[in-house]
Symmetry: D2
Subunit: 378 residues, 4 copies
């Protein structure tokens, strides 16, 4: 009977994220008891050799160089879009139009107008049972679920401040060459890393109403290729510094940087409430720091909570606390969540709608920085 | 052509470790480019329902309730033994006798005489190409490979001390009930956790020559079942405290405890050398602390090295540093290493021989504690 | 002959800071070999009992209830002003007018116009050998001196970002009563804690050119006294969020909060440069984290530098590294620095001029927040 | 009236510890409200220039080159003995014989027989009101007082293990020259650092009944002077590794090392109990980690308690938590405690008796290591 519950997955793109999707969907059945068992049907890459490599090593049944064929394939019910961002929109819309569920990497598109259109397309398809998922994988950390619950339950009192950061150093070296990340048509770090921390802020605290932003291009021109003497001007932001107001009434700051020398994963936050506080960094993704203001004075401080079975779905990965999830496990949880949503269960998201809301904050930050002024989000 | 390079895997046992083996072998092809591509052929469990569950969710082609049939199956080339320890010996020896490679969980057996016999059986089968692997998965941490290289290269100077600990708290509560871990026929924490830290000591510094040990049963009797008023005497050790001498000339200490309240994964060490030092804890498994004695006085301290692509095979899991491996990834590396060894590549171990040497230290510790005296290992 | 090098100290105020000044000047000769040996001549407090207590326990020769008498006293060459902020200006100006050196607690005065006037008075007295010192004691941490040197020497490359925070939680409880800190005539946390982190930003990176600030009153009214049902409106800021541009060309953020639940001393920063980075928090004031971008890939991360004799004047407190200075030791260094400056040595400051520059940033932040716009500092 | 409560202090020795005593007694009145106000009467050093320097800079009224004169001086009621260890016994006994209170640095003497004789002399003088104090200053950390209370109150349940370490690296370099620490007549690190951690073990958990020890001379010969080609054999221990049993029933380990490369102050412990655990290192002397076994599963871990006014006498140094005591502050607390004991208040110790008990453990460790066997302490 369980063969009835299989669901075909097609992955477009065979880079790091394509592989991550494949590995995640392969891993789900062994860890979760998913209502739908994914089958890796087809992998698509415009480069035949890449498609062949992925076909062989990731365990897909078939391969293609034509992503439209993948979407059209009747055995494919979930389409994973893992290509460079500029291609996401066309593929995702085509998949929705074909009645497929879409699991798309972020950013959905290059600006808020495009993502809004995609969100509307997804919403129009919802009555037909179509579901969407966007790859903000950090949100799948079980400890962030705990953080969200603590905030929502009022355990921390009224929230009074959010300080969010996503800083890495992969572009810190002025000799780091030009890349697609620097495409003048798009945004810079505000989209690449900023969208993650904006998404996390929204995940924990809800909508952002207004902001003032300072986007800075630190390295004004870069080699066109590694070691090249030729330079190309950079116009997108290397650092984004936002001051924000949340709809719930509190304020905060958000920083994104890809020139944060020495940092490889400084994705974190500190949240203060009238009755407690939380502090987190993805650098130690299996730890969440909790302060309770009502602790006795002689035993007050931050409690280092270790991830464990008390934080679902950690226990499905390991029955013992403290044994640690890894980066790739977050993608597996994302895939499992999406399968559950498709099967009619809770929709944990983020879906295209949420991604569009995140993109609005990104776009507003860009405009605010140009206009040097506070702006309402939207 | 690549179909020629497939290799069948049979897993005996469907508990946490059985699942871990299945997931690991499934994950290897997507992450590594293994010379042999594992196929999950058969899973065996004496309990038919368990076997069926594993068959379905872990992705095996077939199932059986007869582990001997699994071993005899011509499609199975690698036999994974993940049953309770008391069954390891018979199964592993049968598999070797049948000309199969064996990937066995630790401990191989219940005492040094048994493990020595198993090591000899494995060695006898080596000329036939048979390889063995024992599940000391923590050794697969890329940062421990770095530590070993630094020691071997002389970068830390002459090693002068080792302080090793593996402490967890899962038996700390006196109300924690009796379990198979407490079987009077076996050893207690010295085998369960101690073998890991002894193995790590040997991995980094080589053989242990002599030791004095203090094994202590902290909780003298435990409920026969959760909440039961009936008590059963405990005779195995809850804490083991060893002082050791290594063949290389330095001394050290090794502690194992399963009554270390509050600890979930305190598997760590500090190693001092005349030119540097290393400090590590599996609690933060993606960090290795390095001190260099020749650093300038104004900038001296411990450097927190973050795991990254510079520490193979991290880069196969993720191209960016600092993104973090998890506990389950270590098993995947173990499986990949075993496949490479079977294909004639480097044998990274630990194999049955190494496991037997570890067990000798365990047994010597038990005797030393009984005799209250220093003893040579062996 | 050394009796000629004594110098009389008078302290106005006997609260926490009055005591801190007394202890610091008492401690200097035993730790430093100061060119001038301070003698605790007179302590002044308008409350006779307080003056008497301080006289007796802090070791002053005399006491008075008249601060003008203290300033006029010919035996007093250094006047320490440690009263509530509203009194600083009058006392400090009187002391300067009387030809005395002035060691004043921060803030010098309540706004930038007043502090500017004080700075000008101090500058006018400089040709007469008069020196001033302001109690930004955190700047005296030896590790911050190291940080400043590393930045100035170019060891970190070009500085690209500053993230500075001074957050504590002493006003986080909405039931915390009204106090002088909340005086509507002054500024709130931007002056109380913000001035310290602004001073630190300037100490490390130089002048701030422009900023946009968001000052927020989180707790809109507070009990007039502990437990009182009567409420009084709060108009000053509980949190200040600044985005800034430095004259040297880089940008950054500065946050000050006294409603940062759970934090007692989160005074810290992270500075990124093209060749390295620094991270610091006063919570672990004897540690400075340093990243060097040119470290080999396999041994890259943050180095935890421990304070020691390589970081003067640590070695005068303790000959061994890692033994740790405490909060009060910083005040002792401040006093020693001031004595050295008075004796004609290096003027490490911060003096009244520097305090006035800090206050300009504070005032600009207040205006920026009111006007919701970027403003030039000044 | 308060002039009646002054008490004269004489300090023998003007090295680091002599200065520390002088600074501590000078600081006490400004921080504590001591029942006896110390007056720095005389400082003694056999070297006249050293005595003169100390006289001048530490603020003593007089100086002498004759320690016997200091002891005989009627203005001196407290004699501080801070000379090299070989001189402690004669000076301390002479002071007791003269009816003076004695504040002696550790070790009291070179072996247990000598310290026992000193303890007996101190006890014989007790009826005359004579009090003694030994400089185990680390015990004065307010957080260790909290740890002791938590253990004594049963808050951690029954204690099941102690892991204690005092490791530094000041002798790690084989080129570090011979010094008085290496005197063959005495003990090595077991006395120098080991006595501190043994004292801490006793402070927290009470007497040690038996032990087995491994004392190792890592660097077998050292230059007779810095850079010298001449070598001198070292016979005392560089590392001491103890396994111990406490009278209260639990076991543990104690390690002392002065060849712990990279460590400057690794004085710490982890204590497990059936209901909780504590972890501490002097490297972060203002933090104590506490685990409570009854915490809810979703919020379990180690709480980082920050030192603050809730941990007396921290609040006398600073009214705000988290502002941090330093190494020298511990000596001030020690002096204040001794003054309180002399005035008839609580005797917090450790006194000569306690130091003699610590020395018995040291001596037993030396014998155990020679005999390679477990020994009863005493």
């Amino acid at each position: 009977m369980h063969s009835a519950s299989k669901i075909g997955v097609g992955v477009i793109g065979t880079g790091f994220m394509g592989r991550a999707h494949a590995m995640a969907y392969r891993a789900v059945p062994g860890i979760f008891s998913p209502p739908l068992v994914p089958v890796l049907e087809i992998v698509a890459d415009s480069d035949a050799a890449g498609a062949e490599r992925a076909h062989r090593s990731f365990g897909f049944r078939r391969m293609t160089t034509d992503w439209r064929a993948l979407i059209a394939d009747p055995a494919v019910a979930i389409v994973c879009v893992t290509t460079p961002p500029a291609l996401h929109r066309e593929m995702a819309l085509a998949a929705i139009a074909a009645g497929k569920h879409v699991h798309c990497e972020k950013p959905l598109a290059l600006d808020a107008a495009e993502t809004e259109a995609m969100a509307q397309a997804a919403e129009a398809a919802r009555p037909n049972g179509i579901r969407t998922q966007v790859g903000f994988n950090y949100l799948k950390n079980p400890l962030l679920g705990l953080a969200r619950e603590m905030i929502a339950s009022g355990e921390l009192g009224e929230i009074t401040n959010f300080r969010g950061i996503f800083a890495e150093g992969y572009m810190a070296d002025p000799a780091a060459p030009w890349s697609w990340r620097l495409d003048p048509a798009g945004a810079g770090v505000i989209a690449d890393l900023g969208s993650h921390i904006i998404g996390l802020a929204r995940f924990l605290l809800g909508p952002i109403l207004s902001l003032v932003a300072d986007l800075e291009t630190v390295v004004k021109e870069r080699p066109t290729a590694p070691g090249s003497a030729e330079r190309r001007a950079v116009t997108v932001d290397d650092i984004a510094r936002l001051t924000v107001r949340f709809a719930r009434g509190c304020g905060g700051t958000i920083e994104a940087s890809w020139v944060a020398t020495g940092r490889t994963m400084q994705l974190g936050f500190e949240i203060a409430g009238t009755r407690g506080a939380l502090s987190f960094t993805q650098e130690r993704m299996n730890e969440l720091l909790l302060h309770r203001a009502d602790a006795p004075a002689h035993a007050r401080g931050f409690l280092r909570i270790e991830a464990g079975p008390a934080h679902p779905p950690y226990g499905l990965f390991c029955p013992a606390p403290g044994h640690q999830l890894g980066f790739n496990d977050l993608k597996t949880i994302e895939a499992a969540d999406f399968l559950a949503a498709i099967a009619g269960g809770a929709e944990k998201g983020p879906d295209f709608r949420e991604a569009a809301e995140i993109q609005k904050v990104v776009d507003t930050a860009i405009r605010s920085s140009r206009e040097r002024s506070w702006l309402a989000v939207g």
